[in-house]
């Protein structure tokens, strides 16, 4: 009985300690562990906020099986850089008007953050942001990809984004004629 009681107390203490921790540990699909500010994670990711609130955070590393270690490292890096830089009220108001509001321009550091990424890393990060419900990061990454598309010809787009042309020559010519104005350079 004595022992059991002691064990219960220890459990209790551990739980309190866990609740007091100001970081959460995330585990990538390939088993790597990353620490991220709990406050930033909850503020920037609706999914992580839900898990923290719901108590489904594992102290030994919360499994995020859909996210590889490189993408998760970028997510964590982004969260930690972002810690305390945007008040949550701003995020809340942005999500209310989300469907019609003009897009917000990324901040300078956010630009730099995505500029240094390789093509594949950027795409993986978009998906990770989407999976974790990170609206702001999704905004920043989608903005970057749209920048990559701006002013490019359909040929260039296919090359950069690895898309196969499934049109016949005749169909392409038809589209070009129909939308001739869009193909002129300004």
């Amino acid at each position: 009985m004595e022992v059991d009681k002691g064990k219960g107390e220890a459990e209790e203490t551990r739980k309190v300690a866990e609740a007091d921790r100001d970081t959460v540990t995330l585990k990538s699909s390939d088993g790597k562990l990353f620490e991220v500010s709990k406050e930033a994670a909850a503020r920037l990711s609706t999914v992580l906020a839900g898990m923290i609130a719901g108590g489904s955070i594992d102290d030994n590393g919360t499994d995020l099986k859909q996210i590889g270690s490189e993408a998760l490292e970028n997510v964590v890096d982004y969260c930690n850089k972002h810690a305390n830089s945007i008040p949550s009220a701003a995020l809340i108001s942005s999500s209310i008007s989300f469907n019609t509001a003009p897009f917000k321009e990324p901040e300078e550091w956010e630009r730099k953050f995505v500029d240094r990424l390789s093509h594949d890393a950027l795409f993986d990060l978009v998906e990770a942001a989407n999976f974790l419900g990170m609206e702001r990061l999704l905004d920043v990454t989608c903005h970057k990809i749209s920048e990559m598309m701006k002013g490019k010809s359909p040929d260039q787009i296919r090359e950069v984004f690895n898309i196969k042309n499934d049109y016949t020559k005749e169909e392409l010519e038809e589209i070009r004629q129909e939308l001739a104005w869009a193909f002129y350079d300004d």
Partner: protein, 314 residues
Amino acid sequence: MEGRFESQMACSPPAKRRPTHGPTTAGAAALLPTDMLFDVLLRLPAKDLCRLRSVCRPWRALLAADPLFADAHAARHRAPLLLARFRSSSSDARVHVVDLSSPGGAAAVVTRVVATADGSCGRASTSGDSAVAVGGIVYFKVDKVYHSMLVEGVDPGILMDCVFSFDLEREQCWKELDGPFGASIVAGDYDDDFGDYHDLWNQLSFGELRGSLVLVYFFGHRSVMDLWVLEDFEKGVWVKEFSIQTESILCMTEVCHVEALFGLDDGRLVIHLGEVLLIYDSGTDTFEEVEMGPLDAVAMYTGSLLSSQLRNRV
């Protein structure tokens, strides 16, 4: 978007990717799932998107035929579109769509020829000189005959800035309104001041602001453009909303006439002056000339560049 996040909060497995990019080559690099591609493409200007229809069939389906996408795009790209007809092309009477959202905002891009019709698209503005339709009512200013009457010494019995209205729905003449300033100007003996009085007739034109009639009174030689808004049609209440200093565009104002004027949603004014198009920002009190060919007529365009059909509401 919201739904997407919610489903993931419940920790459901991610939706299976739909093949949005069309067939890919072997060893494909990372591809974007549909909804993220949607988010990315939403950020591009309409002109880029029209060009990107030729990337592959799935993109065309999204960019040319998806009303959801077109609506979402329109909601996020609120930059005004104008219909314009140019003097140089007046022989074939084509109407162009002008996109004012180009980077930097200074230069407009003539993007698309939408009609080879008789120019009916531009009716609201081609006629802004002597008549304008606002909210189902057509307003006319006094005719040239008025001028002839004055020359011949006949008292026309009305003032120079008198405005006549015609109700389009009821198909009847409604009422004549006294203009905002005629009385004070012609109170004296206007025979002595005949030159000015004649000028007044030339200096008047119509415009539209937030659904109300605007009487534009442009003294080119004094570099002032007054905008009188008809606040109350029944009582004939005019309010001088703007008195714009036009020194900065002086070189073109001496001999020019305001052909059309209308307000944009963001409060800026589009002014068709002579052959040029100016955007006036009352906040900064600056004019910006839209770079394009000599303008014949202009009107607002509320359709979408993404839709194949011209939604012709002017």
